[in-house]
């Protein structure tokens, strides 16, 4: 469907994108994930045509669109700010693209009402000014406006970032539902890993203008290809040399020369270790109460390690309590030390 081949984008002397290669399949929900300034929005803007690459090609359905004007690309876009025209009503906002295509009034009306119905906007809301709508409704208008012209692809640039936390979760679900209904190929940009993991079919993790990994949410989370990806996605513990030695003493095969990581939810406290698992003695130094779960900070002597336990009311540990942390060496992700790929947390 969409192929980015060896895309290089430069701003003056600064290279924003280095040889980006992506293949997005038809109907897929594909997310560009990464910290600020990593190149994800630049890649999106290269696809939509706002940025022209120095080299490389953008191919959509086997057609090279690298130098095709923005308006002729047939790619819809939902902006971070939604970019709704404040001087127009909701109806006029949605109809804007159709009017430019010089469609008949009746046809415009029919299309606008049809798409409004699909995104759950009432006739009454169509008459309103965009400033009279809530954040969620505004987002629906932005989606309707992007979809009404029948684009082959829809690009979304952090569309949930200016909403409050609760609405963000609610709209995230709606967004996924709508994408499934419309079946449209979607490219989604976000720096929020939770958003990326819950929404996407596949994720491309960006860092400093490079793609670190492309994979399904499970692949990037559980089988992070690089140290950067494993650090950027989710919370993680890096094991100290002493902890690695302790694990190996219990029968583990960890390479002390590599950087070894284990996710918080893969560790358990005060359970019976299975064969091959290491039991590490420690003291609870702090606990963070999240409601759904509790995060414990456990001092193992050589390092402090974080563990998450379900808040089931059974296993609650007090600060200062002596505990045993159970670690399965199979859950450890190990990387060659490079130093470059670590992310600042």
């Amino acid at each position: 469907m969409i192929r980015l081949n060896d895309i290089v984008v430069k701003f003056g002397d600064f290279t924003a994108l280095h040889d980006i290669n992506v293949h997005v399949k038809e109907g897929e929900f594909f997310t560009f994930l990464g910290p600020s300034g990593c190149g994800k929005t630049t890649t999106l803007r290269t696809i939509t045509g706002f940025i022209e690459p120095v080299s490389g090609t953008v191919v959509v359905k086997d057609r090279d669109i690298t130098h095709v004007p923005i308006e002729d690309r047939n790619i819809g876009i939902v902006f971070q700010s939604y970019a709704l025209f404040p001087t127009m009503t909701v109806y006029d906002n949605i109809a804007f693209g159709l009017k430019i295509k010089k469609m008949k009034k009746q046809e415009i009306d029919q299309k606008v009402r049809e798409i409004a119905r699909k995104v759950d906007l009432s006739d009454e809301q169509l008459k309103k000014a965009v400033s009279q709508l809530s954040g969620g409704q505004q987002q629906r208008v932005a989606i309707a406006r992007a979809l009404v012209t029948g684009p082959a692809i829809i690009c979304m640039d952090e569309p949930l970032s200016n909403l409050d936390a609760k609405l963000r979760v609610q709209l995230r679900n709606e967004l996924k539902k709508m994408q499934k209904e419309f079946g449209i190929t979607t490219i989604y940009v976000t720096h929020d890993q939770e958003e990326a993991l819950t929404l996407s079919d596949r994720i491309a993790v960006f860092n400093k203008g490079y793609i670190e990994q492309i994979g399904t949410p499970n692949e990037v989370y559980n089988f992070s290809k690089t140290e950067f990806v494993c650090n950027f996605i989710g919370d993680i513990n890096r094991l100290s040399d002493e902890t690695v030695a302790a694990v190996n003493a219990a029968g583990g095969q960890l390479d002390p020369a590599r950087h070894n990581y284990v996710r918080l939810e893969r560790l358990h406290v005060n359970v019976e270790p299975k064969p091959g698992q290491a039991a590490l003695d420690g003291t609870v130094t702090m606990r963070e109460y999240y409601g759904l779960y509790i995060k414990y900070y456990i001092d193992l002597g050589s390092q402090s390690i974080k563990v998450i336990e379900k808040n089931d009311g059974v296993r609650i540990y007090e600060e200062g309590q002596q505990v045993q942390v159970i670690l399965d060496p199979a859950d450890v992700m190990a990387y060659e030390p490079s130093g470059e790929n670590e992310v600042e947390k």
Binding site: I70, F79, A83, F85, M88, F96, K128, V130, S131
Partner: protein, 635 residues
């Protein structure tokens, strides 16, 4: 080769060439060349016998004569004004916004009256009260026979009038600054034991210093460049002298033109230095509130009862000073000519004749015969001369205000497109150039430079000749309004989300359509506001009108000034009443404009739709009530 040619013949490319040519024409033709000509005229001064005098002769004459007195007078006025205007300006803002004074809303209305009438209308209004034959002075003379009836003339009168006339900026900017203070900072200071006056002195005032500094510089420049008050009240400052010299000839005095040029250059130098100081200060940055959850300022009670009473007395004395001219002008605009001449209210003499209609004037002459002057009494809208002035001012101001807006919108669009490029910056500085020059320098330069048939780029037409002067006035109005318009409209361009343009392009919209359909509607309220404010300022504009004054260019301000002279003649009996009515008319127009700008203009589409919705519902309810009443009647 062909592709390049095609690209060059593209309409947008042609439009850009046309734009560059237009702005170059405007800048060089109507800003730089006329002013350079003024500068050069100092070096081209001629003796009465036609021989070259040279610049040193002009300077020598300048220093020896009373010219330096004009400069000292202007400086004296500017320095005194800075003190008095700041004292009154800060007082009125604190009294209405910071301290808890009873009746603050009414007080604020009174203090803001200078926003609806200024310049010649205000000065003539003050003269109506305080001049030798003025109402208040006459009353004071009656009460105290030793009272100096001529107190309201020269420096005293100018300082008094301008002190109260020039506080509009304080009411606009200082008020906003004080409202922007985070109240939590005041509470924090109180919490740490500071008393209210300590809080004012140590916490509130320091945050206002940047605004006060800007206001001080602007007031200083206003004092230096004062025109209407010194001219009408008789004070020898720079501007009236420049205009006098501009109209003088070398037969009457030595090098009048060169001296006028020298004076305007000196004035320009003062302005440039002051504005440079101001912008250097502004570059240092303001005290920005670091608070993310700003609390609204709450009025401070003056706990000391004596101080509280004194503050109230002070507030209401200021209110009386601000309101008396306004009330008197409004009241007397509805009085007949004999009541106005006697400056005494006649409760049986109410009339609309100062506004509408004409009357004959009958009197007994020296021989005891009755004589009638047909149409000697006429209203603002019936008097041919007044109506002519209103019409001319209306057209010239509207044309110039619109022209300035169009030029600036086009310029801003370009500036924002070329935000990080030199060409955008050059255009911006070119549009701000007139800000550096005093209005009088621009007008004087126009008057002298275009008063010839040799200027090729205006088609060898003398623009100061007969009706052409109107074109010259429009150009002067437009050029002097460019910097203000640019600052205001540029600010509104910042409010356009850059993603909107991208969104429009993504939906297939071209550059022109995006500008017309997306960007222009967003900035339109600001553009209309700038148009209205420009129009408001130009409609009763005095300084430029006075410089270009001639029969074909008699604007409204000059007509009002003319009424001062008319009032002393018997042939135009109600000139004084018409003057009052004119001021009332100006207040109504200005008030309406301000309402449209700040009331209606600030509503966005959502507000407008809501208002329309409410109106529709009200109408429906009304109709339903009628229908119900009809049904009950028929039953």
């Amino acid at each position: 080769m062909n592709r390049t040619l095609d690209k060059k013949l593209h309409p947008e490319w042609l439009l850009r060439i046309f734009g560059i040519a237009f702005f170059a024409y405007l800048f060089f033709g109507f800003m730089l060349l006329p002013c350079l000509n003024t500068l050069a005229s100092v070096f081209r001064a001629k003796n009465p016998d036609g021989t070259d005098a040279g610049p040193f002769a002009v300077i020598q004459f300048f220093l020896a004569g009373k010219m330096s007195k004009n400069i000292w007078n202007s400086l004296k006025l500017a320095v005194c004004l800075v003190i008095t205007v700041n004292v009154v300006g800060v007082s009125i803002v604190l009294l209405t916004e910071y301290f808890d004074i009873k009746g603050a809303k009414i007080l604020r209305m009174g203090y803001m009256t200078t926003m609806i009438y200024s310049g010649v209308a205000l000065v003539t209004g003050y003269m109506f009260l305080y001049a030798g034959d003025g109402m208040l002075t006459a009353a004071l003379k009656n009460a105290f026979p030793d009272f100096n009836g001529e107190w309201f003339s020269g420096f005293n009168a100018v300082l008094f009038t301008m002190t109260f006339a020039c506080t509009s900026n304080h009411m606009l900017f200082l008020r906003n600054a004080i409202r922007g203070i985070d109240y939590n900072t005041v509470e924090a200071a109180r919490n740490m034991g500071a008393n209210p006056f300590k809080v004012l002195w140590k916490v509130v005032l320091p945050t206002l210093i940047p605004t006060l500094f800007s206001l001080t510089v602007m007031t200083f420049i206003t004092g230096l460049c004062a025109m209407s008050a010194p001219t009408l009240l008789g004070y020898d400052s720079i501007n009236p002298e420049i205009v006098r010299l501009a109209g003088s000839s070398s037969v009457d005095e030595a090098f009048p033109q060169a001296r006028a040029a020298l004076l305007s250059i000196i004035l320009a130098m003062f302005t440039i230095v002051l504005l440079t100081v101001l912008s250097a200060y502004e570059c240092k940055g303001h005290y920005l509130s670091v608070s993310k959850t700003k609390a609204k300022l709450q009025k401070q009670k003056i706990t000391n009862p004596v101080a509280n009473v004194l503050a109230h007395i002070y507030a209401y004395i200021l209110f009386i000073i601000y309101m008396t001219p306004v009330v008197m002008i409004i009241v007397f605009s509805f009085q007949n000519y004999s009541a106005i001449r006697a400056r005494r209210l006649d409760f049986s003499g109410w009339t609309l004749i100062n506004f509408f209609g004409t009357q004959d004037y009958t009197y007994l002459n020296d021989r005891g015969r009755e004589k009638t002057v047909v149409g000697a009494i006429s209203g603002v809208f019936s008097n041919e001369k007044t109506l002519g002035g209103i019409k001319l001012s209306f057209l010239l101001s509207a044309a110039a205000a619109a022209l300035a807006c169009v030029i600036v919108v086009v310029a801003c669009n370009y500036i924002f497109k070329k935000k990080n490029k030199k060409s955008g910056l050059i255009l911006e500085y070119a549009m701000l150039f007139p800000w550096l020059l005093p209005t009088i320098l621009i007008c004087y330069s126009y008057r002298t430079y275009f008063n010839s048939n040799d200027i090729w780029y205006v088609g060898y037409q003398n623009l100061y000749y007969k009706e052409n002067v109107r074109l010259l006035i429009i150009m002067a109005y437009t050029v002097t309004k460019l910097p203000f318009s640019l600052r205001m409209i540029k600010a509104s361009f910042y409010s356009i989300d850059e993603e909107l343009e991208d969104a429009a392009r993504n939906l297939g919209s071209g550059g022109l359509r995006t500008f017309m359909r997306v960007k222009l509607p967003i900035i339109l309220p600001s553009v209309l506001a700038v148009f209205a404010l420009n129009f408001n300022a130009l409609f009763t504009e005095y300084d430029m009108s006075y410089t270009f004054h001639k029969p074909e260019g008699t604007t409204y301000a000059m007509v009002i000034q003319g009424m001062l002279a008319d009032a002393t003649r018997g042939s135009n009996m109600n000139a004084l009443g018409r003057r009052c009515a004119s001021t009332v008319f100006i207040m109504v127009v200005s008030g309406l404009v301000l309402y449209l700008v700040y009331g209606v203009g600030s509503r966005d589409l959502g507000d407008r739709l809501e208002i329309r919705d409410r109106r529709r519902k009200r109408m429906e309810a009304l109709r339903a009530r009628f229908r119900k009443a009809e049904k009950t009647e028929s039953a």
